[in-house]
C-alpha cells in the first residue's frame, strides 16, 4: 500500500539522512521486481481463463466427480433419495392432566369426518375446573411440557405410548413426573418454533410475557422458561408462538377479550386484563393472517367474530371486550376455548363424558354450535388444528 503520505515519509527520511536514499531505492526496486514477476503470473492465468483452458479443466473435474458419484450410487444399491420424507398422514391427540399423566391417541387423517369421535378419554371426576387438556398435533412433533414452576421437559410425540382404542385408562397413562408439588400447566408443540419471532406465555390471571424466539430456544435447552406469573396462586395457562406483527388475543372464561400487538408486549410478565375473582384466562392466541376468530362456550355455542371487531384497549388494566351479553354471563355461560380460524380449519372439543370430537370449522360456522348439550353433558375444552398440521 503506497500512498502520497508514505512517499512524503520517505522524502522526509532522505532529507534527514541522505544516506537512507540508496537504501529506500533498493527496497522499492526489489519490491517492484517481485510485483512485476507476480503480475506476469497473474496475466498468464488470466490468458488461461480467457482462452477457455481453465473452463476445460473444470469441466474435466466435474465429469470426474460425476463418474465417482455414479460409482457410489452403484455401491449403495440405487439412486440416492434426496426428497423430503413422506407426508405423515395422521394425528396425535394428546390429553394431559395437572398431575403429569399423559395419554396419546392416534387417528388417520384421511378418515377424518366432521363430528367424528377422535378419542374416548376415560372420564374420572371431570369438573369444569379440573379436566384433561388437549393438544392435537402431528406424530412427528416435539412436545414441550411446562410445569407451573417454570421447569420444562421435552419429549417427542412418538415417545408417548399410543393408547389402543377402548383400553384407555389414566392408571396406565404415561407420567411426565412433576417434582415436589409441581403441576403440569401446559403442553406446547415446538418443532416449528424456528419459524416464529416470539413465544408468548400467558398466565391464568391474565399476565402476559413474551420471549424472543432465540431466547426461548435457549430457555428450552436449559429446561426452564420461567413461571410467567407475578402472584403466587397464579400459574401458566398456555404458550403460543407468534410473529412480531401479529395481533395477540386473550379470552377469559367469563367471556372478556382483549388484544395487543405482539411487538408492544413486554418481556416481563405484565397484567393485561382485569379479571374478577372467579374468572381466569382460557385461551391466548395469535390472529396471524386470519380474518376471524371463534369463541366456544361450555354449552357448545360457537361465536364467530371478524378480527376487526377487536379493539386495542386504551388501558392495559381494563376489563376488555365482552363476547356475549351480561345476561348470558349471569345465566352461567362460560368460554371453554377461542382461536383464530378460517373455514378450512378443524377443531376438537372435549366433552364431559370424555368424548373428543372433530369439527370442521365451516360446519361449525354454519350450525353455530358443536352439537347438543345438556345439564349432564357440557363441553370442557376446545382446541384447533388445521389441515397443514399433519404434514
Amino acid at each position: 500500500m503506497i500512498n502520497p503520505d508514505k512517499i512524503d515519509e520517505w522524502i522526509q527520511e532522505v532529507e534527514q539522512r541522505p544516506s537512507s536514499a540508496a537504501l529506500i531505492i533498493q527496497y522499492i526496486a526489489n519490491r517492484l521486481r517481485d510485483l512485476t514477476s507476480r503480475n506476469e503470473e497473474l496475466l498468464a492465468e488470466n490468458i488461461g481463463l480467457r482462452s477457455g483452458r481453465k473452463v476445460e479443466e473444470y469441466e474435466s473435474r466435474i465429469a470426474n466427480l460425476e463418474y465417482q458419484l455414479e460409482i457410489l450410487k452403484r455401491q449403495i444399491g440405487g439412486e440416492i433419495n434426496l426428497m423430503t420424507p413422506a407426508a405423515v398422514e395422521g394425528l396425535s391427540i394428546i390429553a394431559y392432566q395437572v398431575d403429569g399423566k399423559v395419554l396419546r391417541f392416534e387417528v388417520a387423517f384421511r378418515d377424518l369426518a366432521s363430528g367424528e369421535i377422535l378419542a374416548q378419554i376415560p372420564p374420572e371426576n371431570f369438573t369444569e375446573y379440573l379436566h384433561p387438556r388437549l393438544v392435537i398435533t402431528s406424530p412427528v412433533e416435539e412436545l414441550l411440557f411446562v410445569f407451573d414452576s417454570g421447569r420444562t421437559v421435552n419429549m417427542a410425540v412418538a415417545d408417548v405410548p399410543v393408547i389402543t382404542a377402548g383400553k384407555a385408562s389414566w392408571t396406565s397413562a404415561m407420567l411426565v413426573e412433576p417434582r415436589g408439588g409441581e403441576e403440569l400447566a401446559a403442553v406446547l408443540p415446538i418443532a416449528r418454533m424456528s419459524l416464529f419471532d416470539f413465544c408468548v406465555q400467558v398466565s391464568r390471571r391474565g399476565y402476559v410475557k413474551k420471549m424472543m424466539r432465540p431466547s426461548f430456544e435457549s430457555h428450552v435447552a436449559k429446561n426452564f422458561i420461567g413461571t410467567g406469573v407475578k402472584q403466587k396462586p397464579d400459574r401458566t395457562a398456555g404458550l403460543t408462538f407468534c410473529m412480531k406483527d401479529d395481533l395477540f388475543v386473550l379470552s377469559s372464561r367469563e367471556g372478556w377479550l382483549t388484544c395487543q400487538g405482539a411487538n408492544e408486549m413486554s418481556y416481563t410478565a405484565e397484567d393485561t386484563l382485569k379479571l374478577s375473582a372467579t374468572d381466569h384466562i382460557v385461551s391466548g392466541f395469535s390472529m396471524a393472517k386470519k380474518k376471524s376468530f371463534a369463541v366456544i362456550t361450555q354449552n357448545g355455542k360457537v361465536i364467530i367474530r371478524e378480527a376487526a371487531w377487536l379493539e386495542k384497549p386504551v388501558s392495559a388494566k381494563g376489563r376488555g371486550q365482552p363476547i356475549f351479553s351480561p345476561a348470558r354471563r349471569e345465566a352461567g355461560v362460560r368460554v371453554i376455548g377461542a382461536a383464530a380460524v378460517d373455514e378450512n380449519d378443524w377443531g376438537a372439543a372435549l366433552c364431559s363424558d370424555g368424548c373428543v370430537t372433530a369439527h370442521r370449522l365451516s360446519d361449525l360456522i354454519a350450525a353455530g354450535s358443536l352439537g347438543e348439550s345438556s345439564s349432564e353433558k357440557t363441553y370442557l375444552e376446545f382446541v384447533l388444528f388445521n389441515a397443514a398440521v399433519p404434514n
Binding site: M1, E13, Q16, I24, F224
Partner: protein
C-alpha cells in the same frame, strides 16, 4: 553445596552466568540460537504436558502450528447465575476449544508478574499460575546450566527491575512470585539484585578508579535507571533508582497500531465493529488467541464472501487462523531492530494469501514513539535530580538492553552527557554477567 549462578530473567531474552576464578562466564544456554548465550524468554507447552524453551520452543511451535488443521468443540468452562423478573437458574458457560491445538506458546512471561489481575492461564486441562509458568522456565535454564557446568546448582541471584510495578504491594507480590518460582524450580537459595545494579557490577570490572555511573538498562519490558558509585567494591553507593514500564514491546505495539492495521482492513471496514475488534487485537498478543474462535472465523469469511475489503480481510483471516501471528510480530520486531542501524527497513511477510510490504523509515518510527521519548527523558531527569548529583559529576553513562540501541535514545543520552561519556555495554549480557558476579558472593 552446589554452584551459584546469576540468571537474568528478561522480558524478551534471558541468560545464565557463572563467576569463577575472577572471570565471569556467560553460559551457552541455547545452542540452537544464533547467539547461544541468549535464550528467548518463550515457553511452549504441548498437549502431552511437555515443555520447551527458547529457540527450540519457537521451532517446535512453527512446526506444530503453522497452517495446521483446526477442529473446535464446545467445552464447559463454568457457570453463571441468570436472574430474570420471574425466574432464576444457573446456566452453564461453554467455550469453543480447538481440540487439535498441539501446544500453547507463552511469551512475555515476565510481564505477567506486573500485570495486575493476571493470575495465570489455562493450558489444555491444567491451570498454570504465573508462578507455575516461571518455575517451568527456570527449571529448564537450571538443567541446561547444570549440564554445561557438570555440577549441581543450588543458589541463584535473579535480576529484577527497579520497579515491577508502581504499586508497592504489586511490586512485592511480583518479587515473591519470582522467589517462590525459583525455589520450586530447585534452587535452594535465592536472592535478588536490581538489573541496572547488576549491569553496573559488570561495568565495574573495567574500571581502574572510582567513578559515578548512570546505568540505562532499556530492555524488552521496562526501562531501569540506576545512578551509583563504582570502583571501590567495599564502598559502592547507590544514589538513586528510577524506572518506567516502557520498552521494546511497547514500540512493537505502536508500530502495529500506527502502521500495520490498514493492511488488515482498518480504514475500509471501520463500520464493522465485530471485525474491527479482531483488527485492533493484532496489536495485543494476549488478546488474539481469545478472539480466534469459530464465530469470528465465520464473520470474517462472510465479509470476504460479501466483498468487504476481501484482500485485507483474507490476510487477517489467514494470519489469525493459520497461526501466523507470531511470525508477524517477529517481522515487526526485526524491522524495528534494523532501524537502529539503518535509516529504513521493510516489514515484509509473504505467505499464501498474505502479502505485506511496508517500507518503514527511522524518521517515521521516531515520530511514532515521540511520546515515549518525552516520558523517558522526564524519568531520566527526575532520577538524576534525586541522586543529588549534577550532570558533570556523572562520569559515565552505561547503556544496556536491546532498546538502548535505538538511536533516538542514544542521542538523548549524548545530548545530556556528551558523546564521550555514553558507553555501550553488551546489550544482552551485561546484566547476566553482573548477576553472575553477584551470585558468587552467595554462600
Amino acid at each position: 553445596m552446589g554452584l551459584q549462578v546469576g540468571i537474568d530473567f528478561g522480558t524478551s531474552n534471558s541468560g545464565v552466568a557463572f563467576y569463577t576464578g575472577g572471570q565471569v562466564r556467560i553460559l551457552p544456554i541455547d545452542e540452537k540460537n544464533i547467539t547461544p548465550e541468549v535464550v528467548k524468554t518463550i515457553l511452549y507447552i504441548t498437549r502431552d504436558d511437555k515443555s520447551y524453551v527458547g529457540q527450540e520452543a519457537v521451532e517446535l511451535y512453527y512446526r506444530h502450528n503453522v497452517n495446521r488443521r483446526r477442529h473446535y468443540v464446545k467445552k464447559r468452562v463454568g457457570e453463571i447465575e441468570y436472574r430474570g423478573s420471574d425466574m432464576f437458574y444457573i446456566q452453564d458457560v461453554y467455550a469453543f476449544v480447538d481440540e487439535l491445538l498441539p501446544g500453547r506458546l507463552l511469551q512475555y512471561i515476565k510481564t505477567a508478574l506486573r500485570t495486575e489481575g493476571f493470575e495465570g492461564t489455562q493450558v489444555f486441562d491444567r491451570y498454570y499460575t504465573t508462578g507455575d509458568i516461571i518455575t517451568i522456565y527456570l527449571r529448564h535454564l537450571k538443567q541446561r546450566a547444570e549440564r554445561i557446568l557438570g555440577d549441581e546448582i543450588s543458589a541463584v541471584t535473579l535480576g529484577r527491575p527497579v520497579k515491577f510495578s508502581l504499586k508497592p504491594e504489586q511490586d512485592k507480590k511480583a518479587q515473591d512470585t519470582l522467589h517462590d518460582a525459583a525455589i520450586d524450580a530447585g534452587f535452594m537459595q535465592v536472592d535478588f539484585e536490581l538489573e541496572p545494579v547488576a549491569a553496573a557490577l559488570f561495568y565495574e570490572q573495567s574500571l581502574s578508579r572510582p567513578e559515578n555511573v548512570l546505568i540505562f538498562d532499556f530492555g524488552g519490558g521496562t526501562l531501569d535507571i540506576t545512578i551509583m558509585r563504582l570502583g571501590e567494591p567495599g564502598k559502592r553507593i547507590v544514589y538513586a533508582n528510577g524506572g518506567i514500564d516502557i520498552a521494546g514491546s511497547d514500540f512493537d505495539r505502536t508500530i502495529i497500531q500506527k502502521r500495520m492495521l490498514p493492511h488488515f482492513g482498518k480504514g475500509l471496514i471501520d463500520h464493522r465493529h465485530d471485525l474491527m475488534e479482531l483488527v485492533y487485537a493484532l496489536a495485543d498478543w494476549m488478546a488474539l488467541p481469545e478472539l480466534s474462535v469459530p464465530k469470528a472465523h465465520v464473520q470474517l469469511l462472510q465479509a470476504i464472501s460479501n466483498g468487504e475489503a476481501p484482500v485485507r480481510l483474507k490476510r487477517l483471516e489467514t494470519l489469525i487462523f493459520n497461526d501466523l501471528a507470531f511470525s508477524f510480530y517477529n517481522a515487526v520486531e526485526a524491522a524495528k531492530i534494523t532501524l537502529s542501524s539503518r535509516g529504513a527497513s521493510v516489514i515484509n511477510m509473504q505467505e499464501t494469501d498474505i502479502d505485506i510490504w511496508e517500507l518503514y523509515t527511522r524518521a517515521k518510527f521516531e515520530k511514532d514513539i515521540l511520546e515515549y521519548r518525552q516520558r523517558i527523558e522526564q524519568v531520566l531527569l527526575e532520577t538524576i535530580e534525586r541522586s543529588g548529583l549534577d550532570f558533570r559529576q556523572i562520569g559515565a553513562v552505561v547503556k544496556t538492553g536491546g532498546s538502548s540501541n535505538i538511536p533516538m535514545f542514544s542521542e538523548l543520552l549524548e545530548n545530556l552527557f556528551g558523546k564521550e561519556r555514553v558507553k555501550a555495554s553488551n546489550a544482552f549480557s551485561s546484566v547476566t554477567a553482573g548477576l553472575g558476579i553477584k551470585a558468587s558472593h552467595l554462600r
